[in-house]
Every structure is written in C-alpha cells, then in structure tokens.
C-alpha cells in the first residue's frame, strides 16, 4: 500500500487537537480562543491575505529565476567549452555549499552596510517592491538555481544521445536541437523533482523572516507577537499551517496537470491524479498494471 499523506496529516492533526483538548481539561492553564483559528482560516484579515499573496509571489518568482539559472547552469556543466563548465561548477559549489539563511543575510545586510550594493525600493506596475523583498527573491532564486542545475542536468542526461544526433543530422544547430528536441524530453524527467523543489520553495519563503518580509509565516508570527491575538500560538500557527497546506495542495494539482501534458507520446502508466496523489492509489483496477 502506498502512503496516503493527506489521511496521515489529517489523523495527526486530529490527534493533536484531541490531546490538546484533554490537556486543557486537566490543567486549565491555556484558554483556547478558537475564533482566532476560524477567523484566520475562513475570514482572513487583509494582513493575512497580503501574506499569502506575498508568499506565492515570492515563491513563484524565485522558482522561475531558479529554473532559468538551472537550465543555463546545466548547459554550462555539459558544455564542451571549458570556462562555461568551470563557471557552472563554481556556481553550484558555492550556492549548494552554504546555508540559504547565510546567503540571505549576506546578500541583503552584507551588501547594504558595505555599500557594495543596496537594493533600491522599486515600484513595478504599481506594486511596491521593497528592497528586502528584492534581495529575498534574488537569494532564493540564485540558491534554487544551483539545485535546479543538477536536476536539469540529470534530465538532459536521461535523454537518449541518439536524439541529439538525429536532430543534428537533420541540420539543426546545437542550440536549436537542445531547445526543440532535447529539453522538451528532459522536461518530462525534470518536472517531478521540480514539484518537490517548488513545494519546498513555498515553505522556505519563511526564512525571509530574517529580512522582515511580511510573508505568510512572518504575518502569523507578528499576529502572535502583539495585538488582540497575541500569545495564541496554538490557534495562530495551526491556521498558518492550514494556509501552507492549502498552497502546497493547489500546487500538487497543478503539477499533476503538467505531468499529464508532458507525458503525451510516452505511453505507459499515466501519472497519478490528484486523488491518488493525496490518498494513495486504491487498486480499483485490480492492482494490475
């Protein structure tokens, strides 16, 4: 039987709530305010909504940067031209070899105090883009690019070398053969790990707490720190978790759609649909593949 993550998570949450309920009856030290939880989930304040959008926007932008850098990095690592190879290897070495938290601090405060580069407060298409957010997106994107480099490289290497030969024998140049023939086939292999990466990215945006970007986690931390909802970490972070879970769930739906589309022409077993993905694959077809 395959693992059924959603069932598992549901069960664990239920257990926590029940245990907590029992504990409160026994000691009575913590007074629950469930309306904080329900309000945060069902009627989120503009502040929370803003945090959600910020998390999504930062994660998507950073991931897009990561994918672009990943493709470039992978082509660099596989290039015949030595300097390209060295540059790509160096990039991966640095950004995979140091903590993301350190990179964020360095790229924002480190560059700021030395006047090497201070991120300007920008406004793009009417949307304010404070310096901390830019630095955060940059750090997340560049870090992600190092991991994506390895993922894309594995994808390219998984494509039969005969494909590149066939493309070249038809008169395509290397860049064209890569773009039209090899990368589209590599994409099929890249998307499942990319799904993992983006799922992580949605949650990793929380690290931007160190540069005070008010994304989802930071917003709930602030709500817990002061104001009418202060010191209700149980209700607040339960609500925060629900929001993150919703975001990652929506992403797994999108990922399933992408995988289905990329699977065209390859036959075999279709990727699991949303239901299977959440609750495991029930063997409705007798379990035979």
């Amino acid at each position: 039987m395959r693992p059924r993550p959603a069932l598992l998570v549901g069960a664990v949450l239920l257990l926590v709530v029940l245990l907590a309920g029992c504990a409160s009856q026994n000691t009575g030290q913590y007074v629950y305010n469930w309306s904080i939880f329900w309000d945060s989930v069902l009627r989120p304040s503009p502040r929370i909504v803003n945090g959600i959008w910020l998390t999504v926007a930062i994660a998507v932008t950073s991931q897009v940067i990561g994918i672009i850098l990943g493709v470039l990095g992978a082509l660099g690592r596989l290039a015949r031209f030595r300097p390209a190879r060295y540059a790509a290897n160096f990039y991966v070495w640095i950004f995979r070899g140091t903590p993301l938290l350190v990179q964020i601090m360095f790229l924002y405060y480190g560059l700021l105090v030395t006047h090497i580069y201070s991120w300007p407060d920008l406004s793009l298409l009417g949307i304010a883009l404070p310096s901390a957010i830019q630095a955060g997106i940059f750090a997340l994107g560049v870090n992600e690019g190092a991991y994506m480099t390895e993922i894309v490289r594995a994808g390219i290497l998984s494509v039969d070398p005969g494909q590149l030969e066939a493309a070249r024998s038809l008169g395509m140049t290397y860049p064209k053969a890569m773009r039209r023939i090899v990368l589209p086939q590599a994409a099929r292999v890249v998307v499942p790990p990319l799904g993992n990466e983006f799922n992580n990215m949605l949650k990793t945006t929380s690290l931007l707490v160190v540069v005070a970007v008010p994304e989802l986690f930071v917003t709930f931390s602030q709500l817990n720190g002061s104001g009418p909802t202060s010191f209700h970490p149980f209700e607040l972070f339960l609500a925060c978790a629900v929001w993150f879970l919703l975001l990652t769930t929506i992403w797994s739906i999108i990922q399933a759609v992408i995988e289905r589309r990329l699977g065209r022409g390859f036959g075999g077993e279709s990727p699991p649909g949303l239901f299977d993905r959440l609750f495991g694959r029930f063997s409705s077809s007798g379990g035979a593949h």
């Binding site: 005969g162 066939a166 038809l170 395509m172 290397y174 064209k176 023939i181 065209r264 022409g265 036959g267």
Partner: protein, 272 residues
Amino acid sequence: MTHTPHDLLDAVGELPQSPDGLVVEATGVHKYFGRLHVLRGVDLTVKRREVLVLIGPSGSGKTTFLRCINHLERIQQGRISVNGHLIGYREENGKLVEDRERNIAAQRAQIGMVFQRFNLFPHLTALENIMEAPIQVRGTPEDEAREMGLKLLERVGLEAKVDTYPGRLSGGQQQRVAIARALAMKPALILFDEPTSALDPEMIGEVLDVMKELAVEGMTMIVVSHEMGFAREVGDRVVMMDEGVIIEEGSPAALFESPREERTKAFLSKIL
C-alpha cells in the same frame, strides 16, 4: 503491407544536384577513437543516383565511416566532400580546420540519415517528426510542411498514423517514418546505418520495400546493411570493409558470387 509506396521523390520536389555527378568524394580518410585507429585511409566516390551497399564484419569501421560523411564524427586525416563541398572542415592556408557549427549544420541538412534505432522524436507525432526540420531548419511555412508530411506518410503507407506518437508505432512503422523524415529535407544523399537490424524479421520487408522504391526513383544512397537480397536487387555496387579499409568492391553479383579476397569469402560464408 497492403500499400505499395510510389513516387516518394515526387512528394518532396526537386533535389539538389552536384555539378559533376559526384555526390560523395572521400580520400585518405583516417579516424581515431583515442588510440584506436578505426579508419585507415578510406577512399570512396559515390555518383549521383548510385546505390552503394557497405558490408563488413562488426568493428570494420563501416558505420564510423558513414557517420563521418555527415560529420557526426570528426576525422583526423583526409577529406570528405558532398556535392563538391568539403564536409565539416574548411581550408585555411592549406590546412584543414573544423568549420563553424552553423555551416556544418547547413551541410548536414543536405544529407539524410536513417539510424539503426530509428531515433524518432518521441514527444512529437509521426507528422510532427517529419515537419520539424523543414520548419526549423529550412524555414518552410507550416502549411507547406504539413502538406509534404502528409504526402510522404501516405507514400510510405502510414496515412493512418499521422497523429500517432512513435511509442505507439511498430519498429517497421517507425523506420518508415524516419525515412520520410529524412526525405522531407530534400537530401542530395541518404545514409542508412543498418536500417533493418533492429527490426523483427516480419517488419524488415516493409522497410526494404520503401528503400527499394527510393533506389528505383534515383535517390543516391549509402547503405550499411547485410541484406543481400536488397543489395542484389537494387544495389549498384557493394563495398567490403575490414579493419578500417576498403578491401574489395564490385557489382553485387560479382562480389557475392566470386569474391577475390579470402576475408570477403570468409565473411560472406558467415552471413549468406
């Protein structure tokens, strides 16, 4: 196969022609893989409309030589021209230097190649496989490429498989699409690298039929193959390679019936 292919060349229109009737001219070709000396001075010319069958034991260098003709492999010595143009290299101060990627690609566009393992693009349908290079390399308008692709698929007997992905085609069908794909580039010459040796026996015939048709219509072809029936029927010349050199050549009848060289006799006795 119920459908007999016909007018394959008619489907693609005019083919480029060499001025002097010589399509391939190879002189003194040497090739090393590291320290392994796989081609040791190969000389060969192929005339327009000629069908040349290349035979020899495995490791004799026949496939490597074929791959040198469209510069999928570099050569270390000698020269190869197709339609009078040096392939893969240009001459600078009497020395040969490797040509630019763009020029090599343009030369390859005139040389079709059919692979042992088909190498169709699995993410594209049969029709898209054929349309891809004309559109991407030649800049052929899409509707024109589509029209030609449909015509070619019909003439290799696969009009029912237009929108089918390669993964759902049999080996013989895939190879016929691959031949159509090569033809769509209007090549001056097509190289066949053991086109039937990865096929189940019952599918060899349908691929050979298409190749025979091409030969009859006057396509210039170099075929690495041990299909003796094909060589006898449409081959103009059979060339026997061993240990990186051509050891004997002649008409199919002459070479198969009365080979001069002992090595040719020994080889033929194994495959006939």
